[in-house]
Symmetry: C2
Subunit: 352 residues, 2 copies
DNA sequence: TTGTAAGCGTTATCAT
DNA sequence: ATGATAACGCTTACAA
């Protein structure tokens, strides 16, 4: 402890404390002596004691759905990296879409007085959270919160993915390529799922002669995509828009046992841009989300809020449509192809 | 803070403290009053203050290579789950194989007085770590530490994967299927890599007529496996044992651009058993590692050590050979097939 | 430039 | 059954 260091250096605790944090009013000699003493004693400051006094912990809390999920792993990596770079340690907890677990995690963060808390894909209600934590200390990252659809996003403290632009770009791209009879395969009806589905419906509804049939792999179906694959094989849509890449890849795999060949009989697009999508055969066309950057930005918002005393405004992260091999140009050209263009808000990228 | 709760309940701080932690000598009436006061005031205990007194933080530290990596993600998920179940919060930091980052992480854990620290795939020397932390508080999970090969594993505080049994099982399986001219593709010469390579060499060396050629995708090659793929296409081995699944899948993908077809011209086996291996086409034969369980066990060892005052003995986690479609039986049977059997220590599993 | 002393929010040890 | 008080290790006015 500090007292030992001070004693060894033959000075008072306060001087030792100051010397170790490079307070300008400490003499070089003293400073060197303190440093030497600290080093030889193997002194390691006690963060708990420090923060008890300082009222700042240099701790951030990150709540994720599941660390084993590729998207969340990326988010976590970006978050940790940015936090470490700013001198923050990170508590990471998983919520698994379980409100109880999420609340326990939140509670843990609060007990440890985290300077900032990021809640990714959480299912708990933001207003419940705001009752327990200052708005300056929380950021919601792509939360599963119905209010986003009904009332739109709050003006501050939210970090979102541009679901609409992403799906819109994907659908328009398919339309440009000549696809008309489409399907959307959802995954359980989360807010994001509903948003993407609604966008697909809307965009396709505006194209004459185009149709969209909606499926839901649901929570149960997620484990067994073959049921959806069979349904698709029966309905034979020309293109399938999947809720995310995981679902898309599982579906492509399941479709191998059916009469539908990807991409010759049916095109497929995913969402997220997970690494796997760029390595699968055929390469998956997908809407890439900057997951790592999302994590970094969350840290940025929290740190800025702590510094400035104002929570940063809500941000919508841009996505980019990455063209793979699952969406070839339709061989049978119907003549209406053309410059539909990519939806505003999403970039178009060729290759993975 | 507690003082407010005490005041609201009309009793002393000590009583309030006791009431909240269900001290048996507090009356029901008082307890109820305190609870009510705490709830209405939204009291959240301060972990820093608590641990300052208690000398226990209920914090564990986990150092990983990279959160975005599937294997580490699984490990992290298992670790977090087990920790949360035991009431511990987890600091997670990434080392990225950089000794400096690893030391910074360690330092952070120490400053926060983590009750236990798990170092996964770290490159820093265990003896350096033991100089800073009590052996009771650290567990090394599959560290990249040469001493493991030279001197064997320390008797306590290590959690290892059975590299030898895994590779041995894989190679014997290939031999049983009739493969003789084999290749091992390493990835940069980590301890684990060297261990697997040495095992492959040894096992194959004991089979008459069998040979092993060693390649190293290295750190640079990892990003561009096509170079290795081309080399393999030139040498045309019958089977390739890859350091891990990531490499195996990348290699299989790269091989598509060569004259070698997987699995008809060349068999491939991986290591780790990542989710992706069970979803690829063809399904990858791999040595599955219980990554989630590894994380859980690390917590188990740390918590037990804190409880018992003795670090648990080193454990070697069993692996299982999972048969996919990348290792079909050799069409040209050389007659020496037979009951080589699977190496002791590894289980054989059919299907993914 | 350095030292003194109070206090951060809890808990544990004594008393009562 | 409950209360007063010291202590945990550090920071920071305020003095000197």
């Amino acid at each position: 402890m500090l007292a030992d260091v001070a004693r060894a250096a033959g000075i008072s605790e306060s001087t030792a404390s100051r010397a170790l944090k490079d307070d300008p009013r400490i003499g070089e000699t003293t400073r060197a002596a303190v440093r030497a003493a600290a080093a030889s004693l193997g002194y390691v400051p006690n963060a708990a004691a420090r923060s008890l006094r300082a009222k700042r912990t240099q701790i951030l809390g990150l709540l994720l759905d599941d660390l084993a999920d590729p998207v969340h792993g990326q988010l976590a990596a970006g978050f940790e990296e940015a936090a470490a770079a700013q001198g923050y340690a990170v508590f990471m907890m998983t919520g698994l879409h379980d409100p109880e677990r999420e609340n326990r995690a939140l509670r843990t963060f609060l007990e440890h007085r985290a300077d900032g808390i990021a809640l990714a894909s959480c299912v708990i209600d933001p207003s419940d959270v705001y009752e327990q934590v200052s708005r300056l200390r929380v950021v919601f990252v792509q939360p599963d919160y119905p209010g986003l659809i009904d009332d739109g996003a709050p003006s501050h403290g939210f970090l979102l993915i541009d679901d609409a632009a992403g799906v819109s770009a994907a659908v328009r791209h398919l339309v440009d390529l000549g696809y008309r009879r489409m399907a959307y395969v959802g995954a359980g009806g989360t807010t994001s799922d509903r948003m993407r589905r609604a966008t697909a419906t809307a965009v396709i509804g505006a194209v004459s002669g185009a149709s969209l049939r909606v499926y839901d792999a649901g929570l149960a179906g997620w484990r067994d995509p073959s049921m959806v694959a069979n349904a698709l094989a029966a309905d034979r849509p020309e293109a399938v828009i999947c809720y995310d890449d995981k679902l898309a890849l599982a579906l492509i795999d399941a479709l191998r046992l059916t009469s539908l060949d990807v991409p010759n009989d049916v095109a497929v697009v995913g969402f997220d841009g997970i690494v796997q999508a760029g390595r699968s055969r055929p390469r998956l066309t997908t809407v890439a989300v900057p997951s790592v950057e999302l994590g970094r930005r969350a840290v940025g918002m929290l740190v800025a809020a702590a510094r400035d005393g104002t929570m940063a405004p809500t941000e919508v992260m841009p996505v980019r449509l990455v063209l793979g091999e699952t969406t070839p140009s339709r061989s049978v050209d119907d003549g209406t192809d053309g410059a539909t263009g990519v939806a505003a808000g999403a970039t178009l990228v060729h290759g993975a």
